[in-house]
């Protein structure tokens, strides 16, 4: 939202603050001011000038023009404007002036030295008319009337969504007055409003949707361009000057935050203006020349024929002001914020009016807007007359809320002492009514422009007082609270430990999106229908919530394999699983991958090692494989009897090189953590060890052999350790030999060599009975 510094100065008295300082003050006390920019600086040098003589030069449109500039004397300029003629009065820009970032110099055009230029309204930033040079009145040398250099303050729209009053200059001027101690001027003279019966009737169907609709009819209207000062003012705050009637409605909106609309009275049909929900299928051709198809969720202003405006958003083209308009009806109304917001977003049409109405405007303001507009129209539209009194429909105005404010409570909230007198002064300057309700407590009445949504409880007043005394005036203070360790968060600590282990083992942490596309899901054997689906996805490749970290990890592998021969990555993130009802289940997983382009690094075993670092004694159970897994290199990770994840190589058809992947369910792992560790005495009698090499089929699992040996060695077995495996001569094709070291002991004595021999013989015999052979 753009604010003119000159406008604010006009609405205050004794404002002695630079625009930049004002911007800073507004930021720290009211709402963020994102920038303060000079506007129309060049107008300090531009002056009124009379064209004395015009002489064609060259073959084009350019003319050599002699002008009397008063301030700068007689000047010769080259001008190509079609309306340039002797005797006219226009605007002269002397050399050395900067226009739109460009310095005007003495240029030689068609052999004539042009000392400066005559300028159009668009070139001067006064309006958007670039069709010819400005047509003015006045004496040469005089400044352009009402067009002084200004500054524009840009206030962040998001910072004032809760402040309907700050969508107009008067509201901001009130803040400025409260901040700086300047006095606020009242721009509205309600006494100007005519008495008597209104010539137009207003009917409101739903007072919730339209709490108030005020209208004023005027006649003997002459539509034409506004005076320069009005055009310049609107242009400075980013509004497009159109004609005197429309410009006045926009001016009032920018000043009082009250959107207004002007209808051509002669184009309205029927005796009444009706505010009602649209009927399904009704259409409105709007002022922007777009046609809107309406339904009953839209509120419209209608005459006997149908909609003439989309309430609070935009007027209709057919009933708008045009050059020949002679009689007008001014609308100044108040609409329900949420209804306007919905309509405007449904039709993707945000206008200066809808932006204001969706902030919940003050119903008191409607007739104020009419009074101000009437005063301005009398200035810019000579001869205009009111046609009867004000039509004012609506429900009774709400009673201003009053809040009991205990001053001691306020000080506790702020953490700083504030005198009741200061609280009173601050609130009064902001327009609140304040009186002492009881000792130590104030009765505060909320002004209508703050009562629509913004201020309703005493906490809201803490903000008013706090921001005005200034938050930098509140000293930081440590709270006096009980010192105690916070409740633990075991999941966080566990995830941290997993992260640390993985990083120490050489893995780099990646973060991936929670979204996947259907194609990605299918590639990894998942049905898109099993996913939680985004209703408004950011792209077709991001329509589902991930049920596995794999699709994105796979993308990471592909991308990074362009730059690296081999690498290790991991991610800790949530799988999101659809549930029959309620929120989906979010399961934290850790997925790690080792990639090697040459297929050299033994990624699977390295990942198995990582799994063992995370879970001492975890086991790998091959069995089945999934479509995207290498069928001979895949297994489940089992810990403490529970499946906690998968270890596999990606199917070689998916990529070049080798990629091993470990996927662990951190929630299950956390549940399997044990603390209660107990010490066991160290054995006092020495143990004995011997090695055995079992001959088995090549695909026999080492874990299977180890388990069988262990069964046979019980109960004397202390430990069994894998040593090595071998295949090749003299073993027959398809066979391998796997060697283990077995350690046996008794708890109460040293085993004799005969006893050890007997155990060994028992094991060999047992294995032979199961069809295994030994290399002895």
């Amino acid at each position: 939202m753009k604010f003119s510094f000159n406008w604010i100065r006009q609405l205050t008295e004794n404002l002695h603050v630079s625009p930049q300082d004002l911007g800073r003050l507004i930021t720290t006390k009211t709402a963020e001011c994102e920038g303060v920019d000079a506007y129309g600086e060049h107008l300090a040098h531009v002056c009124v000038a009379r064209v004395l003589a015009v002489e064609p030069i060259g073959s084009g449109r350019n003319k050599k023009v002699l002008v009397e500039t008063g301030r700068y004397g007689l000047k010769t300029v080259v001008c190509g404007a079609p309306n340039c003629r002797p005797g006219m009065v226009s605007a002269y820009v002397p050399p050395g002036t900067r226009l739109d970032g460009r310095e005007i110099g003495v240029a030689v055009i068609d052999g004539v030295a042009s000392e400066g230029m005559l300028a159009s309204g668009a070139e001067l930033g006064i309006n958007r008319d670039a069709s010819g040079i400005l047509e003015l009145d006045g004496e040469p040398g005089a400044p352009l009337p009402g067009c002084e250099p200004d500054h524009v303050l840009e206030i962040d729209n998001k910072a004032i969504t809760h402040r309907p009053d700050l969508w107009g200059h008067h509201g901001l001027a009130r803040e400025v007055a409260a901040i700086t101690g300047a006095a606020l001027r009242e721009p509205v003279r309600l006494d100007l409003l005519p008495e008597g019966a209104a010539p137009v009737r207003v009917e409101i169907e739903d007072l919730e949707l339209c709490p108030r609709y005020s209208a004023l009819a005027l006649e003997n209207v002459t539509v034409g361009p506004s005076p320069l000062w009005l055009q310049y003012r609107l242009q400075a705050v980013g509004l497009n000057p159109i004609n005197n009637v429309v410009d006045v409605t926009n001016y009032v909106m920018a000043e009082l935050a009250q959107p207004m609309h002007a209808f051509d009275w002669d184009l309205l049909r029927g005796p009444a203006i009706c505010v009602r929900p649209a009927r399904d299928g009704e259409r409105l051709l709007a002022l922007n020349e777009q046609e809107y198809r309406l339904d009953q969720r839209d509120l419209v202003i209608a005459d006997a024929r149908g909609p003439i405006a989309l309430a609070g958003v935009i007027g209709g083209l057919d009933t708008g002001i045009h050059e020949g308009t002679r009689r007008i009806v001014l609308e100044s109304a108040c609409f329900q914020a949420s209804s306007i917001r919905k309509t405007s977003s449904r039709h993707k049409l945000r206008t200066d009016a809808s932006m204001r109405f969706e902030k919940a405007q003050d119903p008191v303001n409607t007739v104020r807007g009419l009074a101000r507009a009437l005063e301005l129209l009398r200035q810019v539209c000579p001869g205009i007359r009111v046609a009867g009194g004000v039509a004012d429909a609506g429900r009774p105005l709400p009673v201003p809320p009053s809040i009991l404010l205990p001053v001691e409570w306020l000080c506790r909230k702020l953490g700083r002492a504030v005198e009741p007198a200061e609280v009173t002064r601050i609130l009064k300057r902001l327009g609140f009514g304040v009186e002492e309700a009881e000792p130590g407590a104030l009765r505060v009445t909320v002004p209508s422009w703050r009562a629509t949504r913004d201020v309703s409880i005493k906490d809201d007043l803490v903000e008013e007082v706090g921001r005005m005394i200034g938050y930098d005036a509140i000293a930081p203070q440590a709270p006096a609270v009980v010192v105690a360790p916070p409740p633990p968060s075991p999941e966080r600590l566990f995830h941290r430990a997993v992260r640390r282990t993985m990083v120490e083992l050489g893995f780099t942490e990646v973060y991936n999106y929670s979204f996947v596309g259907e194609e990605q899901a299918r590639r990894f054997g998942m049905d898109p229908a099993d996913h939680v689906r985004v209703a408004n996805p950011i792209g077709t490749d991001r329509t589902l919530l991930r049920r596995s970290l794999l699709p994105e990890i796979f993308e990471n592998i592909l991308e990074n394999s362009k730059h690296y021969e081999h690498f290790r990555i991991f991610e800790i993130g949530r799988e999101i699983h659809k549930q029959p009802a309620g929120l989906p289940r979010e399961i934290p997983h850790m997925m790690a991958a080792i990639y090697s382009r040459q297929g050299v690094e033994d990624g699977l075993m390295e990942l198995k090692r990582a799994a063992e670092h995370l879970m001492e004694g975890c086991e790998l159970c091959p069995g089945f494989s999934r479509s995207y897994e290498h069928p001979a290199r895949a297994g489940s990770v089992v810990w403490r009897g529970t499946v906690v994840g998968r270890l596999f190589e990606l199917h070689p058809s998916l990529l070049e090189g080798r990629a091993a992947v470990l996927d662990l369910d951190l929630q299950v792992m956390l549940a399997l953590q044990e603390d209660g560790k107990r010490y066991r005495p160290i054995r006092r009698f020495p143990a004995s060890a011997f090695d055995l090499s079992v001959i088995a089929d090549r695909r026999e699992l080492a874990a299977n052999l180890s388990r069988q040996l262990a069964d046979l060695a019980a109960p004397e077995l202390e430990a069994i350790t894998y040593l090595r495996q071998y295949s090749g001569p003299p073993l027959p094709e398809g066979k391998k030999s796997v060697s283990f070291r077995l350690t046996v002991a008794a708890p109460d004595r040293t085993l004799s060599s005969e006893e050890v021999g007997a155990i060994r013989a028992r094991i060999i015999e047992g294995m032979r009975a199961r069809g295994y052979d030994f290399r002895l």
Binding site: E32, S338, Y471, P479, P486, P488, R496, H563
Partner: protein, 340 residues
Amino acid sequence: MLEATLEDLQARALERIRGARSMEELEAARVEALGRKGALGHISKELGKLPPEERARVGRLLNAVKQCLEESFEARRKEFEEEALRRRLEAEWLDLTLPAPEPKRGHFHPVTQVQAEIEDLFTSLGFTVLDGPEVETEYHNFDALNIPPDHPARDVQDTFWLTDGNLLRTHTSPVQIRGMERFKPPLRMIAPGRVFRNEEVDASHEHTFYQVEGMMVDREVSVAHLIYFMKLMVNAIFRREVAVRLRPGYFPFVEPGFELDMQCLLCEGAGCPACKHSGWVEMIGCGLVHPNVLRMSGIDPEEWMGFAFGLGLTRLVMMRFGIDDIRYLQSGDLRFLHQF
């Protein structure tokens, strides 16, 4: 007669000791002279046959020869050992400038690093670290936070809605609600996490980013306390005294609400492109917990007060490391991640 033999034997043995070219040759010479069946052993057997007075004299000589030879052997053996050790040391020269075998240590994601620092800081101040779901109900994300149904924050364009009617949380603030539902006051908590906004991605906007939510509810909680913790946090994160300012900011779930700006670290407040020439950078949205929010979570606002804040973790990480493109954070690009 024996004496001459002994002297001869000694001379020959010494000759062989000196001449030995290896440990093996030396050992052979030793066995020949001093071994059980060696020359000296042979002579000592002869000793018994001598008359007693001669036996004593020759015996002494025998011992002297034996000792002499043993010492010589020992000395020579040491020479060999020293030589062997010297050779081994020579052979075992290692180029310590060679790189250690792979893998090198990996890298924590930059967000993880800063998040851990913040968690540790607040844990040390008695705050617990909480977590909440990334998929949230409309109630927890909006209603319970005093964001009315027609508030612009609920606009479709900002929120990722799911077809089941739930949504992806647009801020970590719902964890405030979940925290209050789980723990009774007094409570102190923070909640770091991933949040989502339906925004076009460019160098400074992401649809997925990180925040840290914080909340304290107690009998007496004031703006002064809030400022205390915010300053503490900013100084700890940047490991120096950083100027901050509090200014009004609007969030429906706090009243009063603030934006906390910190002085731009790049220009020290003088103004630069990074801070849009204001000298300040928006860092934290915060305020005193709105009584409606307390009430909706079953806490009596007349008895309890609280503050809450939401910190843009992603933005903080970018400032801390000077990252100029937000998209790198979720890219999985190791050329980026290996730098942290």
